[in-house]
């Protein structure tokens, strides 16, 4: 391990040395006076602050972290019809579809259906499920017409965003009503899903606008290994809206909310001893909604915001009804202090009530109430104007799940000139243990021992400690001439106290019928060192023609920290290699063609199977290559038509299997699609 990192360092040092010889003109954050005297040509060259990594608007190219933004243009040129599918275009992101309505998504490894290291936010509202420790991506089925942009940070952002922002942050920002005036109807028909979305926005007065939307998605069953229709599938109906009021020039009040309801079918692990259908066939439902109020006060150089939200999510699956209600109050402020310091600070209070009910309770804590109080402060300290910026910050939090936690970060950005920047960072972040690790009870039937039936029970433990990560990162960005740019990032993470299962002695229980039981408690059983590199080369040849190539390679080395039979649950579960290329070409006025090709290496299955869960042939995810192609045509009168296909290279492939998820994976078929969009 050490040798390998030394090698990496020895490779990067000469590069750094060369870069140090570079020097040039520096870029500046432009004030009103500077803008007034700038030439029109200069104005067209100035870039807009789009990154909100540090909870303030800043230039993406001056962000001391691995950042990527999915713009509306990217969305328009993508074959994706849902947010999880859109994330495939993000360098360093591992997106794997598990079944019709389930995805395993993570960055920098440790992927799973219950990936707990990625913080996903919609307009500042967290989507992290504290029961499952992860994100249910089927609850994120916003119509893409409503998405303003999606900002993705790889690596820890816990110093300002808090727990679970360990390996990345996905920040989904929806359109303001003023940007969604008019009516848009869009519909997609394909092998994998049918979708109809309607959005409508209108001004209600001089300073008041609203938008409303409705979305229906029907996700069709995927396939089994031999090409038959699988049992899975999901349909959801969602409706919502938002009102914005610009009370004064500086103040904006906004109120948003939505509701959704859906039905799901899935295959769960066959060994689970809860009454479900044959082959683990399980039928369930989801429902939920939120209300989010936000008051923003923005003057030239300072800004502050107060947000209050209430969120209610229910999920019925495996004969278990889970409901989480969250109330959250959040304050954040941004202000320059003197010439050199730029401060961001804030605080949050969150109260969550989890309620679990059902014929077989999969928990020892059916009523669980918990709280979180936190505060953060981060300072951008300018050491050399526009050249060298030191960012120091930390979040302090106290809560029922993770206890008292300090999550600091130190970042240094050096911009030798306005075309390139080099950054490095050291941070600590924690994963707040979910109810799953603390209080889960999952009974399993795992075969027979000496002719006696054998049962096992996975149990959470109250003494489970938060997993933590110390992350060391570095990156380099460069804009070449003629629209060519490069973004490189490397990381080395020391992950501690990873979730594992300890296998105790067999016990023979004579009643009611003689059987053998094993207890499988959750323990902090492993440590891991993970490392890797992410590279993106993008080339905007001219308006209407662009290319992107990205390569991510990453791996981890795990170390058992407890003696005895301990099996890792939080396995790396990420291909060593992930390469993609995309091209977008407007070959004639009003006609464009897009291609996306992605090769992912195999995911090696960890040895979690001491539970006796039987792996069948094909129960792993081999390497696969995915090709999406489509052609779009703007017919006129606001009518756009897109036709194409996804997964064109093979009839079907499996994308994920790590043996620890309760959801059984299916095969993703080749699919043709037709999308129509009408805006008026």
């Amino acid at each position: 391990m050490r040798l390998a990192s030394l090698r990496l360092l020895s490779i990067s040092f000469p590069l750094a040395a060369f870069l140090m010889m570079q020097a040039g003109g520096a870029a500046a954050q432009q004030g009103a006076d500077a803008l007034a005297s700038a030439s029109l040509e200069d104005l067209t060259q100035i870039s807009v602050d789009v990154s909100s990594f540090a909870r303030k608007d800043q230039d993406l190219w001056k962000t001391p972290a691995a950042a990527f933004v999915i713009t509306q243009e990217d969305i328009a040129h993508s074959a994706a019809s849902s947010i999880p599918e859109l994330l495939r275009m993000v360098p360093g992101m591992q997106v794997a579809q598990v079944d019709a309505g389930t995805w395993a998504i993570s960055a920098r490894g440790f992927n799973s259906v219950y990936a707990d290291r990625l913080l996903v936010l919609i307009d500042g509202r967290t989507l992290y499920s504290e029961i499952y420790s992860g994100v249910h991506w089927d609850e994120v089925d916003l119509p893409l017409d409503l998405v303003e942009r999606i900002e993705i940070i790889r690596g820890p952002g816990a110093a300002v965003w808090g727990a679970n922002a360990v390996n990345g942050i996905v920040n989904i920002i929806t359109k303001k009503p003023r940007s969604a005036i008019g009516t848009q109807v869009s519909s997609t028909v394909s092998r994998v899903n049918d979708q109809v979305a309607l959005t409508y926005g209108a001004p209600l007065g001089d300073r008041l606008q609203f938008r409303a939307s409705a979305n229906f998605v029907d996700r069709r069953p995927l396939e089994t290994a031999d090409g038959a229709l699988a049992f899975d599938g999901e349909d959801t109906l969602r409706g919502g809206g938002r009102i914005d009021w610009q009370r004064t020039w500086a103040d904006t009040l906004s109120l948003s909310g939505d509701m959704y309801k859906g039905h799901l079918r899935q295959n769960v692990l066959r060994e689970i001893a809860v009454p479900v259908g044959p082959n683990g066939e399980d039928t369930g439902s989801i429902a939920g909604g939120f209300l989010n109020g936000r008051w923003e006060h923005k003057t030239g150089e300072t800004s502050s915001a107060v947000a209050v939200y209430f969120d209610d999510q229910s999920r019925y699956e495996i004969n278990d009804d889970d409901r989480t209600r969250t109330a959250d109050v959040d304050y954040e402020a941004h202000r320059a202090a003197g010439e050199r310091n730029d401060l961001v600070w804030g605080g949050e209070y969150r109260f969550t009530a989890d309620h679990i009910s059902g014929p077989v309770l999969l928990t020892t804590a059916p009523e669980y109430r918990h709280f979180l109080v936190d505060g953060f402060l981060q300072d951008d300290l300018t050491l050399v104007r526009d050249r060298l910026i030191l960012t120091l910050g930390s979040k302090l939090e106290e809560g029922s799940l993770a206890g008292f936690q300090v999550q600091p970060s130190a970042r240094l950005l050096w911009a030798p000139d306005a075309r390139q920047s080099i950054w490095g960072a050291v941070s600590r972040a924690v994963v707040a243990p979910a109810l799953q690790e603390r209080a889960i009870v999952v009974p399993l039937n795992v075969g027979t021992v000496d002719g006696l039936p054998e049962t096992a029970t996975i149990t959470g433990s109250a003494s489970f400690k938060p997993e933590s990560v110390k992350a060391f990162e570095a990156g380099y960005r460069r804009r070449f001439r003629k629209g060519l740019s490069l973004d490189l990032a490397g990381f080395y993470n020391r992950n501690n106290r990873l979730t594992a299962i300890a296998v105790s002695q067999y016990t023979i229980v004579p009643t009611p019928e003689p059987h053998v039981t094993i207890s499988l408690p959750y323990v902090n059983g492993f440590d891991a060192h993970s490392f890797g590199m992410e590279a993106l080369l993008s080339w905007k040849v001219r308006p209407g023609l662009s290319f992107r190539i990205s390569e991510t390679c990453e791996a981890a080395h795990t170390f058992q920290r407890l003696p005895g039979s301990v099996y890792i649950v939080d396995s790396f579960s990420t291909p060593r290699n992930n390469v993609f290329g995309s091209a977008s070409w407007e070959f004639r006025p009003k006609w464009s063609a897009d291609a996306f090709i992605n090769h992912l290496g195999a995911i090696s299955t960890p040895p979690v199977l001491a539970t006796g869960v039987s792996l069948q042939a094909g129960d792993y995810a081999p390497a696969y290559t995915r090709l999406d192609l489509h052609v779009s045509h703007a017919i006129g009168h606001g009518f756009d038509l897109t036709a194409g296909g996804t997964n064109l290279l093979t009839p079907r492939h499996i994308e994920f299997f790590d043996g620890t998820d309760l959801i059984y994976p299916n095969y993703i078929p080749r699919s043709l699609f037709l999308r129509a969009r009408w805006s008026f």
């Binding site: 990496l8 803008l35 993406l60 805006s679």
Partner: protein, 189 residues
């Protein structure tokens, strides 16, 4: 050592990637200096004001009644405060600019420039051609492909604000747009 042997492939790739970067960097040529960054509203406000220097209005807008360039902003638009700030900071040089914040289109025919807030776009789309004929330079935040009736669009594309000019319509209404501006703009024919 065993680890290195085990991860040979990965290490090879890391080396390849870094060497690739290195070659890319070595072969790259010095690039023109980049102007910095700004907030979207401030940038759009500065462009709007700056553009007026490259436009000649139809003669009926240049008489004694029009001693000032009247810049109107329709609806509550976040660029408003930025426009005010820039106009206050540049009292000297060029034709004076007067900023009016309009709540409706009633008085819009007297403007030289009418900036239509995104929220108002749909409201006024039908009235735009008449205003253009009356010598009002209509400017909007959205792209000209979404609002064909406006003369100039200032959409955000990736992280830059682009200038789009609907040239045939502008010429028909008697505007003369400097080639300097057209060179920086996407021209719709």
């Amino acid at each position: 050592m065993e680890f290195i042997l085990h991860h040979r492939a990965l290490i090879r790739q890391v080396c390849a990637a870094w060497s690739f970067t290195f070659v890319m960097w070595m072969t790259s040529m010095p690039a023109p200096a980049q102007a910095g960054t700004a907030s979207e509203d401030a940038l759009r406000a500065a462009m709007l004001l700056n553009m007026t220097r490259f436009i000649e209005w139809p003669t009926r807008k240049l008489d004694v009644d029009h001693g000032q360039t009247v810049l109107c902003i329709l609806g509550a638009d976040p660029i408003g405060p930025s426009v005010d700030r820039i106009v206050q900071s540049q009292a000297d040089g060029g034709k004076p600019v007067q900023v009016r914040h309009l709540a409706s289109l009633d008085a819009a025919a007297g403007c030289h420039v009418l900036y239509v807030s995104l929220g108002e776009r749909k409201h006024v789309e039908r009235s735009l051609p008449a205003l253009v004929d009356a010598g009002v330079l209509t400017v909007g935040e959205s792209s000209n492909s979404n609002t064909p009736a406006q003369l100039i669009g200032l959409p955000l594309v990736d992280d830059h604000i682009h200038i789009e000019v609907n040239l045939p319509q502008a010429q028909r209404a008697g505007f003369t747009i400097s080639s300097k501006l057209l060179r920086l703009a996407t021209v719709y024919h």
